[in-house]
Symmetry: C2
Subunit: 328 residues, 2 copies
Amino acid sequence: MAQSPTKDIAFITEPIREGLERVNQHLVGVAGAARLSGDAAMLQHAVVSGGKKLRPALTLLAGSFHPGYEDALVTMGAAVELLHIATLIHDDTVDKADTRRGRATVGNLWGPDVAVLVGDYVFATSATFVCDTGNIRVVRRFSETIMELAQGELAERFAAHNWEQTIDDYNARIYDKTATLFCTAAESGGVLSHAPESETQALYQYGYNLGMAFQVMDDVLDLAGTEEELGKPVGNDLLQGTLTLPVLRFAERYPHEPVLVRVRQGSREPADLAALVAAVRDSDAIGEAFAVMEGYRDQALAALHRLPATRERASLEALVAYATDRRV
Amino acid sequence: MAQSPTKDIAFITEPIREGLERVNQHLVGVAGAARLSGDAAMLQHAVVSGGKKLRPALTLLAGSFHPGYEDALVTMGAAVELLHIATLIHDDTVDKADTRRGRATVGNLWGPDVAVLVGDYVFATSATFVCDTGNIRVVRRFSETIMELAQGELAERFAAHNWEQTIDDYNARIYDKTATLFCTAAESGGVLSHAPESETQALYQYGYNLGMAFQVMDDVLDLAGTEEELGKPVGNDLLQGTLTLPVLRFAERYPHEPVLVRVRQGSREPADLAALVAAVRDSDAIGEAFAVMEGYRDQALAALHRLPATRERASLEALVAYATDRRV
């Protein structure tokens, strides 16, 4: 069954098409279950989006090695997607974003106050879905994940413009912000399909490294992409004060670079920030951050080798390529 | 052990003093566990307040009829208090409140964005505490409760100034907003102490009726109290557009009252609103709403008679008096 990895999303989801369709039906049902018609319209808008559903795909694929537990996996897949959606609703509210994936955000349409409460409702709905799996280990891990997501967002805000932070701080933050949900999506597939613990641990390692690779790649592209590819200014994170791996590596290697010194001393001059973006972009810090991403990527693939070589495993391999080969 | 009910909080909490102290220690621990020092200060402020802790008291007392499960009850007590605190953080954020119980709100001190994320973190922390009980029934019910709390807040906002709403709508809303958490606090005491199902159901009925009585009393006092007692304008709910039981009863009975007609037609003139508050306040709608409260109160007390007549049961009786005899 050895197939060369592809980053084609259709190839990835082909073996779990039916499961993903059932996840979608759950999401549609969430909007239908709301008591008020006004709520239903909002939830419909918030929950039934055209997202790629990478996280539920991860759960379904991770749970495929020991068949017979599809119902629990579909329920869990809906839970992880709902948690992801709830996080996006609150993030967009906090960031005052007007659009997401080309559609108006809940906060844009109904105001930030409603968006806070709709986000809460979707968070809670995700938790009831997890409870429906009946598995206390999965429920516990899910709750921790919600804590970590909130902690990651808080940490990002508090670390903004803070040049005292270390690469360890960065690693802890991107685990909280991104990797924890990939871990939980993958690990729960193992737990709910009653996989041997060694396989579940392999799935956890896969999810961890996939999530870390995904976020580091995002942070590299933010500096290495073009404005056209990114759909936002190059170095947008740095312009917002978010210090990512390439920037922190640059600061470690070239602490006396004049424009870096000015920005560290508090300059928010557009010309200084643009010059710093350009300096990082042209430095070897980009390549070094890319190498860190490759390390995570390779560990994700290595973890898969501890699992049976099925068609679904080929999908999980392709998912790594999909998450890390992308130009944007 | 038959004691006459008292509304003295010291009498209520006397048999569970040690348990409440342990709940407090859990709350202090939440702030200590946060990864960032900035978070810890916020969480300390948000979580370790001087609140009366009625809800954990309810769980501890409800779980007292079958001793031996104190650890799980303390954990659950911390969970219900954290959930209550998370709700207040988001409510205060949405309402742009500057103070709560005489202290600055999280949103006031650190801004609304941080308050959204801190609220999320406390929500998630409450869920991990529930998971620590290891009881999936309690966890499931807790998740539903979070959904209902969010739904109640959303419903209140969407029903503001809406005179088409019915008393059934009001009842559904105050269940979601207030009674559900009292239900869950009481029921979980039964479940976690392995009480017979008939006792757990009695505790659920007690919690439901206590919660409904508590909220109806709040809504009566909002109109029947004095500004001095209330610490806010008389009829503040109506001034904000929230239609409560006395107002809805008044509208049912006196649909042609001129000032009511003007407000229903959309008048927000301060003079009209003040006149409507005065008209409701002087009408028999207040007494009728009070009678509804008494009905809930009596059912709460009746539910207790299905439980053994212990000292803790006397506390639960006193809690009813405490929640419903208060002037404000």
